[in-house]
Symmetry: C2
Subunit: 290 residues, 2 copies
């Protein structure tokens, strides 16, 4: 961000200081023992700001699941609660749905909507063209749009854009991709993919090096650990994530790790047998490598 | 920039406080009367920083001509002088050649090279694909590249990239475009285009509303003024740039203004008769509108 910002903790149930539950062979969001203190932290942040006579202009988050931070899925209800706090303080809501949107990371078309949150700014990209061509868009409200209207000499116009904005080929790919994404058939395919991820990932819990498996829509993350009973991480020098992904690549499954987290995020057109192949390779890779 | 930066004046001969020359019917860089005090300002900035026991990490500029700032062409020698100052202070040089590079804004392939400056970072984009597809690249030295090499756990890697990096279609378009740009024929075409811009823009000096015409390679800018004898600008509310460009559009010539500056920057494939059409339309537009 180009200006001063405040940060507040985002939920990470598996490694949360407020989670008093012992590790189980299940998604930490399910067995966590806490009072959602992470929501209190957001509440306190907004209150402290208000006491200084100011409200935040905007509250920005990745809804449903944080991506490059480690594919960290949020517990149900978190987003609705923190969005309500922002609304109470007159703060605008900015949802980064670059990774999560367009059917990817929730049962809804947008992950915000899965928690009944309607952002003031919705940032989208990857899914727009199915990733084939660069294209991004920022959707906003009429009120925000109107704020940039005025006489020429007032300089209210939002001048900032770039040379490649509205590239015709990217726009054509986006329109074709959106039309596919919105069809009934692909919507059913997404539901089927989410079910497959859920059922086919279950056997991984048998592996000692698997600490957490968290799924959000069509995104699944496996956090590898040196000891599942203590949640002790693998040392970075072991390059465990890279080694597991390298092993999978030799089986014909290409993916990339985020540190010790293995990300399973197959295209929506992935067939049932391809998903099986992914998890067969993943199980073999973890078993052989850890 | 995401961190604290210092700024220093960039040369703008036509509206320079150090230029003691009266306006003439010529490019202000030619008739200016000054001692290149703009270079002294850069020298002073670097010296002040050094007195505080520090040198600047990097010096960033658009070489040859500043783009969105108003197509402001630099006087000959300026870049070589300020780059030498940066080098004396052990400061790395970052050239933003997004607009100027790849044969656009100088007689050289890169505008830095026209002043015999070899940057440590060379930022390029638009010309890479001829503007047809988004593609950008940052070229740097082996020393900078090596600084990002190390053991995995050292986190020396430069992780920052984005999803659309290395897009295959963009890369293919770039390779095709670069091969065209490097051919002898297109190199000759660029020289011809620069000559045409120079000769065909001359008649514009007859118009009272033309204050400055500055050319840098294949980029030409016409600064419109209410009174050429005083350099008095048109009031913004008159939207003079927009009106001139609208008039040109009706003649079949599409361009866009930067405030009161009309930008002529035709594609390298523009024929001689098309360049004539551009200047006929521009002259008619200025005559009819101002």
């Amino acid at each position: 961000m180009l200006f001063k910002t405040d940060r507040v903790a985002s939920p990470y149930c598996y490694r949360c200081p407020f989670n008093k539950a012992k590790p189980e062979r299940a998604d930490a969001r399910k067995y966590r023992k806490c009072n959602m203190e992470c929501v209190d932290l957001v509440q306190q942040k907004f209150e402290r700001r208000q006491k200084r006579g100011k409200n935040y202009a905007a509250f920005i988050f990745e809804p449903g699941i944080q991506g490059p931070a480690g594919m960290i899925a949020q517990p149900k209800g978190w987003l609705a609660k923190v969005a309500a706090i922002a609304r109470e303080h007159g703060t605008q809501i900015v949802a980064d749905e670059v990774m999560t949107g367009l059917g990817r990371a929730s049962s809804s078309y947008f992950a915000s909507h899965a928690e009944k949150v309607q952002p003031d700014f919705l940032c989208i990209a990857k899914g727009l063209t199915g990733g084939y061509l660069p294209m991004a868009a920022t959707l906003t409200t009429q009120a925000v749009f109107d704020a940039f209207l005025g006489e020429y000499e007032e300089f209210k116009t939002f001048y900032h854009g770039h040379s490649f904005t509205g590239n015709p080929l990217g726009a054509a790919a986006s329109l074709a991709s959106l039309s596919l994404l919105e069809s009934k058939k692909t919507s059913q395919q997404r539901v089927q993919l989410q079910k497959s991820l859920k059922s086919l990932s279950k056997p991984l819990w048998k592996l000692d090096a698997v600490g957490d498996i968290r799924q959000s829509g069509g995104v699944l993350a496996v956090e590898l650990v040196a000891d599942w009973k203590t949640r002790k991480p693998f040392p970075l020098s072991k390059q465990m994530g890279i080694r597991v992904c390298d092993f999978m690549a030799k089986q014909g499954v290409l993916t990339r790790p985020i540190g010790n987290v293995i990300v399973v995020m197959p295209p929506f057109c992935t067939t049932q047998s391809q998903v099986k192949k992914i998890f067969t390779a993943l199980q073999a890779a973890i078993s052989a490598t850890t």
